[in-house]
Amino acid sequence: MKKMALVLCIAMTAAMVTGCSKNTDSVAAKQGNKEVLNPIRIWHDGDKAMIQLMEDHLNQALSDDGITVKFEQKSGLTDQIKLYGSDEVNGPDLYMYAHDSLGMFVEMGALAPITDVIDKNVYADMLPMTMKAGNYKDAQYLMPVYFETLLFIYNKDLWEGEVPSTTEELYSYMKNHTDATAGTYALVNQHSTAYNVAPLINGFGGFIINEQAKPGLNDKKTMEAIEYNKKFAELEADGDYNTVNALFKDGKAAAIIGGPWLISGVKEAKINYGIKSLCDFKLPNGNALVPYSGVQGVGVMKHAAETKKEAVEKVLKEIADPQLGIDLAENSRCAPANQKSYENPTVSKDEMIAAMRKTADIAQPMPNIPQMSVMWGPTESLLAAVNKSGKELNNVADEYQKQAETAIADMQ
């Protein structure tokens, strides 16, 4: 009995220790046959229906080549790629994600430029903005699929007259149509969220962080934009994501600045909505609002570029197919990265997609340098201090600029 107990103890310990071991042998080296190229695994954290559509499209198109593509949803994709990005056995071959994490993955050494596997002609038809988003240190790392920008979404039943074309007219309208005591607003916006204030900052010629990774929170033009945003913030309710959405869906706000991700909820709330591109609003300096754009693109892991080059090349070519963009636009209302997709009348006539396409000519891709990941905190702290705590911008801008510089220095 005692011996049996001891044997069990040893077996449990051995199982525990070996369970933690990692298989690092290359699958290709282990099996030495062509089958190991399948499936091409793409990690993502996107919408299930949309990803299923992409998977079906790719598998149908690549069936003659004997290539199978398998999308795998991963929550916390950034952390997963940090852990498994360079792991040929347990990690993905490709990944599909927003472009702003690109610099981080490249610096970690997980990605290969897509030009290692495909010719530049493959992505010649992509919108320049989407290509810029996937470019890091002069190398192209992402094949863009679709993009998103902020929009001016309004309730046609509540909005009186035409939607203005300047921010000053918009402000006058807000002053005349906002009654905070009664809980009704002309426009709501996440006024202390960096992404939502970026259209003003960029429009004023300021910046949150520039290409040389210098924070611009105390830059004169950034400060002008933040000060200008403040007068709007006073009429835009709390600015919290849940609050502004609820106000718009409850019919207590006539308009909202938000992304295409809001539309399904707006439809469910049976709001008779209209959409206007943010670049149709002119600032007092004559410039248009310049929102950030977020581009969803596909990147190639270094190991896949070496061991599965042919298969990856074919997959990327199919991803660049304008028909995939059309399918995504028709089924999921995504704004395709491929300009040719807009030749399809269903795509070009979709009000929301058309507004985003228009904005794409002027929108700035979110910075994709790794330092951007530590800029959201100080920027939003500065915005909250000014808009919510009533702090004087001149007194706090330097403090948060210093905080941002420290955060960037801490990365090294």
Partner: protein, 296 residues
Amino acid sequence: MNKKNKILPWEYSFPSIMLIGLIVVFPIIYTIYISFTNMNLYHWTDYEFIAFDNYRRALTKLDSGFMSALLTTIIWTVLNMVIQILAAYLIALGLNAKGLKLARLYKTLLMFPWAMPAYISILLWRVGIFNPQYGLLNKIRSALGFSSMDYLSENIPAFISCMVLNLWMALPFLIMMMDGALQSVDNSYYESARLDGGGWWAQNLYITIPSIKPILAPSIIMTTFTTFKQFDIIYLLTMQKGSLTGATLQTVITYAHQNAFVSNNYGLSSAVSIVIFGFIILFSLFVNRGIREEHV
């Protein structure tokens, strides 16, 4: 005990020791190891030993806000614990009052905040109670003719709001412990006290509190540590990414999170963690010594 009998218990408990080692000890040792390297985004796989560089930087950081975060944490812990112990004691006394009807129902209802997942509770309070547009507090204010107020935009109201929520979430545990402890006190002590003319105060001071103190000590220590390292409430109420409220409250743990873990510099983050770990160990030694002296 012969040699075989001395070894045998170790052999039986070896898997458990291994498991504890892997889950508890290994991460601590690994964190210490990482803290001596330059492991960060730019040296993800090719990191090197850099001796005490990260500790030098971590200690420099202590000047820039750590001490005020530590002070806030101490005030937070002391205030919460004093109020919690007093409130839980009074409520537990009430629940044990003779003749109280539906006592079990009240006890079940009081457990509710404790049973709810913390994340849900905090978001419910954030939107349902404190929100300037939809919150209950502002609904009451506007019904009384006052203007709306943002309870989370300034440090002092935000601190009080966080404390109220912490009390709501943490009180049930102490009430349950005190309720159990109160039921273990022999009724004959109270009968004797009453015969000797002892009133409510005397009974509480000389019978109830001394009787329940040894039973409650572990629960109070546990709650003190939970309060000291509270993160969820302050983070989710005031500093959640994309929903900052304007308050700049920092406790030791939120400070560590903000200054170390968003940077992807694992070497520096580990060094900051180890320094904070040291502070918590010192705090625990201080608390344990206080309790031991009281027992002596």
